[in-house]
C-alpha cells in the first residue's frame, strides 16, 4: 500500500506539525498582552501590574444614560456589565458612537476607575438588519 518513503514523510510531517502547533500556541499565549486590542474594565480591575504612563485601550459598552457633554469634553462610562470605568474625552467621536453600543477608548488611566482618552473608536457587533426589523424587535421586547 503506502511505500516506506511515503510513510516516513507522513511521520515527519505529523511530527513537525505537532511541534510547530505547540510552539505557536505558547508564543501566542505569552504575547497575549500584545495581541489583545483592548482591556475590559474587569481586566483592568483585576490587573495588578498596571501602568499609568503607558497608552492602553479600554473597551466595552457605553453605559445607557451615562454620556454627558460639557463644552468639547464628553464624559461617559464604559461597562462590561460587571465593572465600569469613567472616560473623559475631548474631540470628535465616530458616527457609530452611541449609548448601549460597543466602544474602544485609547488613552491613559488616571486611576483604576478613571480614564482619559485621546481617541475613541466605535465597535459594532455582528448583527446586520434593516432598521424596520430592529424597530419591530425592540417593540416586541
Amino acid at each position: 500500500m503506502l511505500s516506506k518513503k511515503v510513510k516516513s514523510r507522513i511521520f515527519i510531517l505529523i511530527l513537525s506539525f505537532v511541534s510547530l502547533a505547540i510552539i505557536i500556541f505558547f508564543v501566542l499565549r505569552s504575547l497575549e498582552e500584545n495581541v489583545i486590542y483592548f482591556f475590559s474594565p474587569t481586566e483592568i480591575y483585576n490587573k495588578s501590574d498596571i501602568s499609568f504612563n503607558k497608552k492602553i485601550r479600554v473597551g466595552g459598552l457605553v453605559k445607557e444614560g451615562s454620556t454627558s457633554k460639557s463644552g468639547t469634553i464628553i464624559n461617559f462610562i464604559i461597562t462590561d456589565l460587571k465593572n465600569e470605568i469613567i472616560v473623559s474625552y475631548s474631540g470628535p467621536v465616530p458616527n457609530l458612537f452611541s449609548e448601549g453600543k460597543g466602544v474602544v477608548a485609547e488613552g491613559k488611566l488616571k486611576d483604576k476607575k478613571y480614564f482619559v482618552a485621546d481617541k475613541i473608536l466605535a465597535k459594532h457587533d455582528e448583527n446586520y438588519m434593516p432598521s424596520e426589523v430592529s424597530k419591530s424587535l425592540e417593540k416586541s421586547n
Binding site: 511515503v6 507522513i10 473597551g59 458616527n95 457609530l96 473608536l121 459594532h124 446586520y128 432598521s131
Partner: protein, 236 residues
C-alpha cells in the same frame, strides 16, 4: 493514473466552457450588485456603509479558502510528490493574493465610517496582513527560482507554514478582544445577518467564486503548457 490524467485533461479545456462561465459570472455579479446596492436595505446602525460587506466578506472567504487549498495541496504534494497539484496551487495563488488585498482595502474603507479609523493593529487585521505576506513569499518564490523541483519544495514549505495562520485568522475574533466584530456566519448557529442582506451576500459570493474559477482554469492551463515546454527544453 492520477498523475498523468489531470494535466492532459486541462489541455483539452476549450474556450467555450470559459465563455459560458464568463456569461454566468457577469449575470450573477450584475444581479448581485443590483441587489446589494439598490434592493437591499441600509443597516440599522451602519446605514449605507454596510454595503461594503458584499465585497469585503466574499473576498476574505476566497482569500482564506485559496490559501487553505494551497496549504492542503502542499501537504499532499509533500507526501505523494504529485506535480500537477503544485501547478494547481501555483495558478491559484495570485487569485488568493488579489482577494487578500481587496479584503484589506475594502476593510479599511469600511473601518473609517464605522470604527472611525482606517486601520487598527488588532488580531484579525494583523493576521490578514500576515496572510498577504505568505502569499507574496509564495508567489515570489515561484517567480525567482527557476528549477521546478527546488521551487516546488520551498513553496510547499511556505504554504504549510502559512496554514497555521488560517485558524488564527478565523478564530482571532473569538480568542482575543479585537476591534473587528465576530463572525456573522458560522457553522454552528444561524447567521446574524437579516435575510434581505444575506441573499445579496450569497449571490456576490457565488459571482466571485465563479470569477476565481475562470481565472484558475485559464492560469492552470497556461501553467501546464509552460511546464511541458520547460520539460522539453531541459530534456534536449
Amino acid at each position: 493514473m492520477l498523475k498523468s490524467f489531470f494535466p492532459n485533461r486541462i489541455l483539452s479545456l476549450n474556450n467555450k466552457l470559459i465563455t459560458g462561465l464568463v456569461i454566468v459570472m457577469i449575470f450573477t455579479v450584475f444581479i448581485g450588485i443590483i441587489y446589494a446596492l439598490v434592493i437591499s436595505p441600509p443597516d440599522y446602525v451602519q446605514g449605507d456603509s454596510v454595503r461594503i460587506m458584499y465585497v469585503h466578506v466574499p473576498s476574505s472567504f476566497i482569500a482564506v479558502g485559496c490559501f487553505g487549498f494551497i496549504g492542503i495541496a502542499s501537504i499532499f504534494n509533500f507526501i505523494f510528490k504529485v506535480k500537477f497539484v503544485s501547478l494547481m496551487s501555483k495558478s491559484i495563488a495570485p487569485i488568493g493574493c488579489i482577494f487578500t488585498l481587496v479584503s484589506i482595502v475594502t476593510g479599511s474603507l469600511w473601518g473609517k465610517p464605522t470604527w472611525g479609523v482606517w486601520w487598527a493593529w488588532d488580531a484579525r487585521l494583523t493576521s490578514m496582513v500576515i496572510l498577504s505576506c505568505f502569499y507574496a513569499a509564495y508567489i515570489l518564490t515561484w517567480k525567482f527560482i527557476d528549477r521546478f523541483e527546488k521551487a516546488n519544495k520551498i513553496t510547499s514549505i511556505i504554504a504549510i507554514l502559512g496554514l497555521f495562520n488560517l485558524p488564527v485568522i478565523k478564530y482571532s475574533v473569538d480568542w482575543w478582544s479585537t476591534l473587528h466584530q465576530p463572525s456573522s456566519i458560522t457553522l454552528t448557529s444561524s447567521p446574524t445577518i437579516h435575510y434581505t442582506m444575506l441573499v445579496p451576500l450569497i449571490i456576490m459570493f457565488f459571482g466571485m467564486i465563479i470569477y476565481s474559477l475562470i481565472i484558475f482554469l485559464m492560469r492552470y492551463k497556461t501553467e501546464v503548457i509552460k511546464f511541458k515546454l520547460d520539460k522539453k527544453k531541459y530534456n534536449k
